[in-house]
Symmetry: C3
Subunit: 209 residues, 3 copies
């Protein structure tokens, strides 16, 4: 039950961030709703499709869609009168990422998949919604260019979650530590502008080939 | 049988509109065919994937792919010698949208999904093909920016279809009214340039945050 | 067993080409890995999703992901000190395309799908990874614009594979000839710059409508 409420919280936050992103692109009302939905359920949907996990989590339970519509409407109403609370949203987004990532990893774990796949599924659940949002908005996904350790935080968090369980920790404490690692790394990355190295292939070299 | 023929008509129209769009981007012959296929079957395929509805409608029945290839070839041949009949295509596209949307809603209904999901599935079936076409063409989906009530027509049509059934109307009349609402709204939107409001987040505000 | 090793070889080559493409866009380390994974497994994943073929080929077997990570790391290390071996990569890519395409066609064949669908599934398996790579990189898919007969090679190869079997050839020789046709056409296209005709819709015509 707590988990369900937390999951709704994550959905709402991702929907709000999607609505804000769509607003920046001057999409119309429908576009805002689509981007809000895609951002909020995209990662979990891709995970469910890849793992043959039907019904997909939001298809039978209209609560997810309802929460998304309400969150998008509130976002629209709020930014009509006030500045978007970007700092608060960044914190909420980090919590949503932590929650989605570890819950995605748990789903993959229940299917007894190898550790590497568990990491991939956790990362997909946490971050694919944002990638779809960017692709539909005509942007190169932010995640691939400069992540402030966004997906990296997810990967390290799932790894911590798996390692702790291997060391004999219980399922629940490992989950909470894993979420803490994701959110903590993400906060640290935003605070100190931590980034992964960019990989460059010299254009000159390539052209001279 | 009538339904099957209507569905083929919708596929052909969407394939022609995809081929035209690809032609505008100077794609090669293969690119035109891919975009025609994606536009025509993309929405229904996404619906089938999300609803675990296998085999996907065009996979076992080669008639869909054949109709798409013929429609794309006719489009290529036609525009070689004449102006594309945009007005006729817009009418046909509205009919295709109406048909795909209501048939998508019916599929979701058979699965006894909640009303909100039925609306989403109808809208996806009718409009996701066009979104995929735009993404593959490197465009921000038209649908999200300025829809002339494209997806909105789909949403309102499915809502009408569901409300009528709740009021005791039979399945068939409700379907026809639903399709009429979709096509009618779309015609009206094209005719009088009806649009949804655009949602703006002031860049200044965001930057000053 | 030979087939499995060949398949790993294809995965490695596609991962390397994905890593190189990501490097050209100045993605960060995570972006490079994502693009490498998507390029290598995207086509087969889409095929498996469309054919309801679970578990998806890389989900249960971590060897695919491992090979991709190693191939991407080697590519990163190599181009740090040397020019990317583009000619060698083009050859390897043609072999990967041949292998993926025919193996995709075989999967569709086992499901007793119509010939047209077999061709489509083979082509998707061989080329959809590259399309996803381009979409995520913010590029209009190379494949749709100027293919050097990339997908066309796949289509002709699958057709040859099917025709030979109809003519009474065994499964294995038909497979090898099919792969040879794909790789051979692709080499010829690169060597002599063979291209499909581009389909143009005059903008003037369209605008005057």
């Amino acid at each position: 039950m707590v988990f369900y409420l937390l999951s709704m919280f994550g959905v709402a936050v991702f929907a709000a961030s999607g609505a804000l992103a769509a607003g920046r692109k001057n999409f119309d009302l429908f576009g805002v709703i689509v981007i809000a939905i895609v951002t909020a359920v995209g990662g979990g949907t891709l995970r469910d499709l890849l793992l043959d996990r039907y019904p997909i989590f939001w298809v039978r339970d209209p609560a997810h869609l309802t929460v998304i519509l309400v969150a998008a409407a509130c976002t629209l109403a709020y930014v009509r009168f006030r500045k978007p609370p970007l700092a608060a949203l960044a914190v909420a987004d980090a919590l949503g990422l932590a929650l989605f990532t570890i819950s995605g990893a748990q789903v993959a774990e229940q299917k007894e998949l190898p550790a590497l796949t568990v990491v991939v599924m956790g990362t997909i659940t946490g971050s694919a919604g944002g990638v779809l949002r960017d692709v539909l908005s005509g942007e190169v996904p932010l995640l691939l260019r400069q992540t402030d350790l966004y997906a990296t935080a997810a990967i390290v968090g799932v790894a911590a979650y798996l390692v702790l369980q291997t060391l004999g920790f219980g399922h629940e404490p490992a989950s909470f530590v894993g979420m803490g690692v994701v959110a903590g790394l993400r906060f640290a990355a935003i605070r100190w502008k931590l980034r992964l190295p960019v990989f460059r292939v010299s254009e000159e070299k390539s052209k001279s080939e």
